[in-house]
Symmetry: C2
Subunit: 384 residues, 2 copies
């Protein structure tokens, strides 16, 4: 087994490179999930998540549950929507489409507005849809990991509040929390779901979410009981409240190692102002996008305002396919991800530039990745 | 933070003490969930689970999903049963009752047979119930972690196969896999669900299950689609099959760190014959039960044949409560769990003796725990 110091740099849009201290927390000795030391760490972690999501409203409620980003979709779909209710899904790629599938699995009536490849649904289409029908809930993928398309949330929440204020607004923040600005209270979001292994910088294994008091009230006032057990917000709510109040509580065993790693990761994120963190991701994104343009290549997200700041999906030259390029990058110690969008699969690759690789001044992952990209393309016979 | 070498011994019925090598795997450097190194490790882990569950039938299917033991209940309840179908739950404590709640949440018609505290449902009652109604599925908690009551599965599977052979037989093996004998094929089980953090000896965070070909066929031939996304066996099935065939596959991101830790833990379990492992747990259990009797105390599981071999729930003297005793044990470096059964909560404590604490000859956790128990009871003023 190679050591942490010498392994290839994982520059995919999650999981990402982890800080040594985070990985050390993963190997913390065994402790009880209801013992005072762990309860305190879990409680502090929940409190820190409020800062990360920029919510000071005490009615907001964080949840951290063993799972993954996908589980967050289930939590939204089964708790906030009752079978037969209307949901509007805004899709910018694979993950938006899959979120729609998740709602449908639970019996919601789903309307999906899908952006063209490399784009996102437009506000005028959304306004039209919201005026045609009353939706219980609208959801947008803040950054779709399959395309690197950013959906700016503030104009969307402004629109929904103007046209259909009763509609709950949920953001899939799997690829945006801790790298893109999210002002939970100021923007009036009702829910943001995410996962541990992206910009937060903790290994995979946790579903992390924040819900507004209004969303919690919707759960409490349902006409029907939600058809789930493990993903039941009602069952987890007192457990999360107790942990945050430093009281032991039990519904299903949390993972002390993952929660300790999350505590370490979020502590690192919050050690500097969030604004500085978001700005740094913008600067690195600009640098990556410029290097891509200098190579004569295009970013999948066509318009600048639709480009995510912590990943870049890059169209390859016609003469080069993803499966050709990726092994050459690996030979240079850099791992990119292949394409995930069904219409453009092998024509592009995905480069994640978030978390420690972007924030840690001791790491040269970004420059190394750009240099490896230039060299690997040259080896494929491509000249800009 | 104390080091792994000097921390108090976690002698609760899960999570348990972990081997150093398992914890080191938890801090493995970041790697892609679809990269060849990880895919190979995950595939090998799935193949090893077949050995752990003692199934060689190629139709059997292991699943490993981010989650916990609880998620296994959801997987069973939403995939194998359709709303309105009859389920028979055999309960020996808190966890059997909770499994029944889980089935009810998904719309199953649940009949529960509950053993008296410290006992389990009896075969004659079960036979009577099976003859009165056709059940789609029957489930038993192999070891109920709240009471330490063992439900021997072989006589149960014999009974079900004789009286109601069409009924799917599911065991909750959260507190039994890797410490109690489970012969998946020989006994004709259709499903066993478990979690990573008990006798398998891997940190919390994984739902681990094995299903028979018959159970998989039931999933494939449902009349209605299961109302879940994250817990959908249909969605996970090709992913598990691909990983085991060493092909990258994606539905929802698995945790490379947890899967590596599971690989290490299961490799250690399988390094010696399973029969030897089960026998060692029986010997340590006998030693613990004798020490409890020598102290003039009773085990919650009244009959010897109902006593689990990897945990012991111990009734305290009338003059001593769990909340009195536990801090005194902690002062001696031993962590036991409090009571979890609603009828006898503070009157008993739970002692887990499974995994490395039982199997590793270099560890003296069991002797230390028994000595600490004797001393702590004496400090509480109790004389045998």
């Amino acid at each position: 087994m190679s050591s942490q110091a010498t392994h290839p740099a994982l520059m995919i849009p999650g999981p990402i490179e982890f800080d040594d201290a985070v990985l050390q927390s993963m190997s913390h000795f065994s402790e009880s999930h209801v013992g005072p030391a762990f309860v305190s760490i879990f409680g502090d972690t929940l409190a820190m998540l409020r800062k990360l999501f920029q919510t000071t409203n005490p009615a907001s409620q964080p949840f951290v549950i063993n799972g993954s980003g996908t589980l967050g979709w289930d939590i939204v779909a089964v708790n906030l929507v009752e079978p037969g209710e209307d949901v509007l899904v805004l899709s910018s790629g694979y993950f938006g489409d899959a979120f729609a599938d998740c709602f449908a699995a639970y019996g919601a009536k789903v309307t999906t507005i899908t952006g063209a490849v490399g784009s996102r649904p437009q506000l005028d289409e959304i306004e039209k849809a919201l005026k045609e029908k009353k939706y219980k809930l609208i959801t947008a993928t803040h950054v779709d990991t399959s395309t690197g398309v950013l959906f700016e949330l503030k104009p969307l929440t402004d629109l929904v509040k103007r046209v259909s204020p009763e509609t709950l607004i949920i953001a899939d923040g799997v690829c945006s929390v801790a790298c893109e600005e999210i002002a939970f209270d100021d923007w009036g979001l009702d829910g943001v779901i995410t996962a541990s292994q992206k910009a937060i910088g903790c290994p995979t294994g946790l579903s992390i979410s924040m819900f507004s008091g209004r969303a919690i009230d919707v759960v409490k006032n349902r006409k029907t009981e939600p058809a789930t057990y493990f993903a039941s917000m009602k069952r987890w709510l007192p457990v999360m409240q107790n942990y945050e109040a430093k009281k032991p509580s039990y519904f299903s065993t949390p993972s002390p190692q993952l929660i300790r790693a999350l505590h370490t990761a979020v502590s690192q994120v919050l050690a500097r102002p969030l604004s500085e963190r978001f700005q740094k991701h913008i600067e690195v994104s600009d640098k990556v996008k410029k290097a891509v343009a200098d190579l004569g290549l295009k970013v999948v997200a066509a318009k600048r305002e639709d480009q995510a700041h912590a990943m870049t999906a890059i169209y390859l030259p016609d003469s080069v396919s993803g499966p050709d390029l990726l092994p050459k990058l690996l030979n240079k110690g850099i791992i990119f991800a292949g394409g995930l969008h069904k219409e453009i699969g092998s024509k592009y690759v995905r480069f994640g530039h978030m978390g420690p690789s972007t924030m840690d001044p001791k790491k040269s992952d970004i420059d190394n990745a750009l240099q490896a990209l230039r060299e690997a393309l040259a080896e494929c016979g491509y000249k800009p």
